[in-house]
Symmetry: C2
Subunit: 345 residues, 2 copies
């Protein structure tokens, strides 16, 4: 494989539609991104090769390398247990490729906990950081925003929240193209002094970080309406916010659909404006972003939504490439060092 | 005032549309509920009397009593500070009426923190409980469900979460008419062992409570789709879930509206099926429930949404009446005593 190419390891067996969505994604990526990337495909070699041929992709394409990984981690498996018991699973093998210096990063649409656990155990943390966070881009009335952490670290110290603020800020600059993202600390009210103990202490830490446009506390009402670009919270709260929002969108769509079916005229009207709904769906489609980076670890990893199809996977591959190209991890280490967060304590 | 009537103190100056929404609400309640309730109206006496006359209500109606409360607490005031500095505010005076035995409960659509703080300080906790929780009824695909605590107690011990499970269960029986509500503990995944430290410990406590249909952990994806009737969480998480959900509904409506306006046909279609949207809005309207009870304190208090108009206020008055009529507080004390939660530790 050429040395100049950015090489991305793909977890071929992770996700609800694996491996077909991953194969579709790799095929799309080969066409869309030309020579920009090389791909290490971690999965059962024969099955992957067969799938590539079915998609009219030559498995001996110089940009591709198939790496044998006969095991896979299911979406509902216990992450740490699975990593320990399945050292040859596609996600673990993909992480190993980065550790061995053969790839620059990993894309996985599989079990989030397994990806987080494997990255944390295999790669370890960047200097100055103690726990990773997932930065998820979510749609909003006035454009996308970043939720950080959306599920990697459940129990957070105030310092971890401060680190999430630094990493979320850098990621919003890169992914959303903002020059001074507005960073807010998620709390149960906007006034200073609101929040649980961790949030109250994190407030005073983040407040003292130079170079971050800190709004102070933000509350649930501030999300989705364009008041804040980076929302900082622990992975427990972030996971709940993310999943609740996903489900509420679905439930509301379901209730509207059900309601519309009650009368003939409503049904006709809904048919007429179907395109408008499709437009909103497109605007809020997670697969356009390509997944959420796991930040803080020594390596680049993007975690896609389990339900991604090929297009989402190709976008996820590009997202890993962008993290590598923009040297995100070096910038994180620089920022943490420069802000000397540890000395704030 | 007749002794047989259930007497409800109304915070006439709390809420975005006070006092006019409260005056409208009292006028509606007088008509709808006949002789069932008596009303202690806490507010500036002259202003309240004038408002009643404007609504063709006789201020000397035997069901009414006007109680002077010249001060009011604003929606954005610091709760504890406001309570201390404004002992003659309408919310504090309303709470005092219950403490003095002159009313059985309070309705307020004002500053939630002030209502919680005043109830906690003036009424104190029921025997066996240490912190109050707010039980908010939210709409879902398959009917309403209860979020407990939605914002009263930010830092919770596992035991407080267990108490919320007991109170949420009893409230769902009363308010939703369920014989065995399914109670879930909100976490970042459904497997046992998921959750932050408090949640993990609360799991093992709630699991051992007899008489509660405990589902174990529920996650964000389980809310709004009818999988669980009572969702237990601390007030920090609950407040964020509640406000995020409110805002996301608004933002999605806004995005649909904006999208629909882009093309003539879409606009026409939306006009045709407008009724279907109104139907969904009605199904998800908080004012039908009349507000959320503050449970755990020695007295009955229902907190309405700040934006309630008269109809919501009248429903809130009825909700207080129902708490009193069904002896909710006695049943909470009985349950906490019966389950001997303290001995579980």
């Amino acid at each position: 494989m050429s040395e100049s190419r950015v090489v991305i390891a793909v977890d071929m067996m992770g996700g609800d539609h694996a491996p077909s969505a991953m194969l579709d994604g790799v095929a799309e990526a080969l066409g869309r991104f030309g020579d920009a990337y090389g791909y290490l495909l971690a999965g059962p070699r024969e099955e992957v090769a067969r799938g590539l041929v079915e998609r009219k992709v030559d498995p001996s394409d110089p940009r591709l390398e198939l790496v044998e990984a006969p095991q896979s981690v299911g979406m509902d498996e216990h992450p740490v247990k699975a990593i320990r018991e399945k050292p040859r699973s596609s996600i673990v093998v993909a992480m190993d490729m980065v550790k061995a210096g053969r790839a620059g990063g990993v894309f996985s649409a599989g079990n989030t906990g397994a990806a987080v656990g494997a990255a944390f155990l295999k790669w370890r943390m960047l200097e100055g950081l103690s726990r990773p966070g997932i930065a998820t881009v979510l749609p909003g009335e006035k454009g996308p925003w970043v939720l950080m952490d959306s599920g990697a670290t459940v129990d957070c110290t105030p310092m971890m929240l401060a680190h999430f603020a630094v990493m979320g800020d850098l990621y919003a600059r890169q992914a959303l193209g903002l020059s001074a993202p507005r960073v807010g600390l998620l709390s149960n009210g906007t006034e200073e002094g609101k929040g649980n103990r961790q949030v109250q202490e994190a407030y005073s830490l983040i407040q003292r970080i130079p170079g971050i446009h800190f709004l102070g506390n933000v509350e649930g009402h501030d999300l989705f309406r364009g008041k804040v670009d980076v929302v900082v919270c622990d992975g427990f709260v972030g996971n709940i916010v993310l999943k609740t929002s996903e489900q509420l969108s679905k439930s509301l769509s379901g209730m509207i659909r059900e309601s519309v079916m009650q009368r003939f005229f409503w049904k006709m009207g809904a048919l007429l404006c179907k395109g408008a709904f499709r437009e909103v769906k497109r605007r809020t489609d997670a697969s356009e972003v390509g997944g959420a980076p796991l930040l803080g670890v020594k390596g680049c990893c993007v975690i896609g939504h389990g339900n991604f199809q090929g297009h989402g996977v190709a976008n996820g591959i590009r997202a890993v490439g962008e993290l590598i190209r923009t040297r995100m991890n070096e910038r994180i280490v620089e920022a943490v060092h420069q802000y000397a967060l540890d000395s704030l304590n």
